[in-house]
């Protein structure tokens, strides 16, 4: 059996997220109430197109501005952990995303305004954020589609484990644009019939959401701990998983071994594509028998490269409050009996497994528990 990717526990000294509902506490409360942030929206913004389910920050247009309108929202989110030492060798920053500022390149192409280009590349987008927040230059940038945030957390854990960093700030942001909404719509997995049940569609369907989050990882500070990570990359197909579910099983097995004997609940990836949902639910039931499985993208939409950290912040809020939101936006029948549609009390549980998947058959998961 594969060993976990990183085994030294890292404490969660601080963690929060930003969704259309607000911060982690507000998002957690909205999910407990069963609210859905996804709304039918034109896939190409002001250019129109089919209405698809998008969850945008209140008042934010899909089309990019110069400078990007999301920058102030991100700065507000990060204000509680602002400090002069982030970005130094001992307090590095990891920034993760699948989009970064790529919406600015779409704006450049549409408007011809050259000023958009400076924020369009990953390094250009992060430089904009770095300068705005006053970080130093020790900033690592990870981009692996929808498991990006997990890689930042793994890297941060390893920096702590090796003793080369005192604390690490992991930041992730993905703000939607016609670039990404148009791409997913081209793949025919955004539900133009929204809010009709996605189960009626042959392949299922997903919604997309704005999302950002951060986590400060520390060796000794924090009430929650990320005990172990696991990664697996199938390299089977760009947009499909191995039909036998081996990739899901390979990612979960090391965590199941670490957590043997403990009572856990599982926050799955759960985008809404039927085949991946079936494979994930089956693999979770085998790796963690009896563990309730929840997913929150039916409300928040898929926050892409940031989903791992957005959902970490919500899972942390759930562990602290003792209440886990159910699988908002889904309905019976579910793939397995373990899928929890309604909120539940988690005070008798020892922790949670949080899992994400990505293009290329990429899988990532970690074990979150009380320190």
């Amino acid at each position: 059996m594969a060993s976990p990717t990183a085994t030294s526990a890292a404490r969660l000294a601080a963690c929060d997220c930003l969704t259309p509902f607000g911060d982690a506490a507000a998002t957690h409360a909205a999910l407990l109430r069963g609210e859905r942030a996804l709304q039918p929206s034109p896939v190409l913004g002001r250019e129109g197109g089919d209405a698809v389910p998008l969850a945008l920050l209140p008042g934010r247009a899909l089309d990019e501005t110069n400078p990007p309108a999301w920058l102030q929202s991100l700065a507000t989110l990060l204000a509680p952990v602002a400090g002069p030492a982030w970005g130094t060798a001992r307090r590095p920053v990891c920034v993760t995303s699948s989009n970064f500022g790529v919406g600015s390149l779409h704006a450049l192409r549409c408007t011809g305004e050259a000023g958009h280009a400076a924020h369009g590349t990953p390094h250009g987008s992060v430089e904009l954020v770095r300068r705005a927040l006053g970080w130093g230059e020790n900033v690592a940038i990870f981009s692996h589609a929808c498991v990006s945030a997990h890689l930042g957390l793994v890297h941060a854990s390893r920096l702590l484990e090796a003793g080369v960093a005192e604390e690490v700030l992991v930041v992730s942001y993905d703000f939607l644009s016609p670039f990404v909404a148009g791409g997913f719509h081209a793949l025919k997995i955004l539900n133009t019939d929204f809010p009709a049940p996605y189960q009626d569609r042959a392949a299922g369907s997903i919604g997309l959401g704005d999302g950002a989050g951060y986590a400060v990882l520390s060796r000794g500070r924090g009430d929650l701990s990320i005990e172990a990570h696991s990664l697996h990359n199938e390299m089977y197909h760009f947009t499909a998983n191995k039909p036998d579910g081996a990739g899901f099983a390979a990612a979960l097995a090391p965590l199941a071994a670490v957590a043997a004997g403990r009572r856990l609940w599982v926050k799955g990836h759960g985008t809404g594509t039927l085949e991946a949902g079936r494979l994930e639910a089956t693999a979770v039931a085998l790796a963690f028998p009896g563990a309730p499985l929840v997913g929150w993208k039916g409300s928040l939409g898929h926050t892409l490269g940031s989903c791992g950290i957005v959902e970490l912040a919500i899972a942390a809020a759930a562990l602290r409050s003792g209440r886990t939101p159910g699988t908002v936006g889904s309905a019976s029948p579910t793939f397995t009996d373990a899928v929890a549609l309604a909120p539940f009390d988690n005070t008798a549980f020892d922790g949670a497994v949080c899992a994400s998947n990505a293009f290329g058959g990429a899988h990532a998961a970690f074990l979150l528990s009380h320190a």
Binding site: H123, N138, V139, G182, A186, N233, Y236, F238, G360, A362
Partner: protein
Amino acid sequence: MLERFIQAVRTDAPGAEEPAATRVRLKDRFAPGAVRRMTQLGLFVGAVLGELQPGEDDALVYATQFGEGRALEGYLDSFPSASPTLFQTSIHPSGAQQGLIGRQRCVREFFPLAGGNQLVATAVQAALLAHAERVLFCGGEERGTWLVPHAAASDRAFAFALALTRTPEAGALGRLALEPAADVAGALALPDWFELLHNRRPFAGAAAPGWRLELEWR
């Protein structure tokens, strides 16, 4: 100090080669028919990485500042009828994934990094922190077209792949180390890193503020 030993190095310096010529030059490195769907960067990286025979237990670290510049340009040009194929191939780590998917080679750990001046330092750091016995560190760029004047695509093409191990096994080609150094300032850009590898030149100096990189050849 973080360090590993270099067991193998592969580089490709294709100059101004156009994608069609790259397909012809490298088609024998991939499964029949596969190159038609691959990007130029996917061909460059897939070829050098393929020579190192990636295995499931290897950790793979991939560094590119701009990624699939031409796929990105093509995807942007495809609006309002967005191309699903170009969307997929314009996604950041596709340059490394294309060859691995073609060969059906799963890997447990895959760390794709982006970035500007700090890219080499952070990618080397990720490689040296990996738990795997063997780490494959690869990267590269392809030349863009209309995004180049906007500094949003690379103006040159190159690819590299290194095999790194924890111990100096017999035949090690060199050593790669990264150590904290409070008084160090500066950066090592990805094209400069490539030139060091391609010409087997040693280096000892700043990789990032507070980090000194050593590259030695034997």
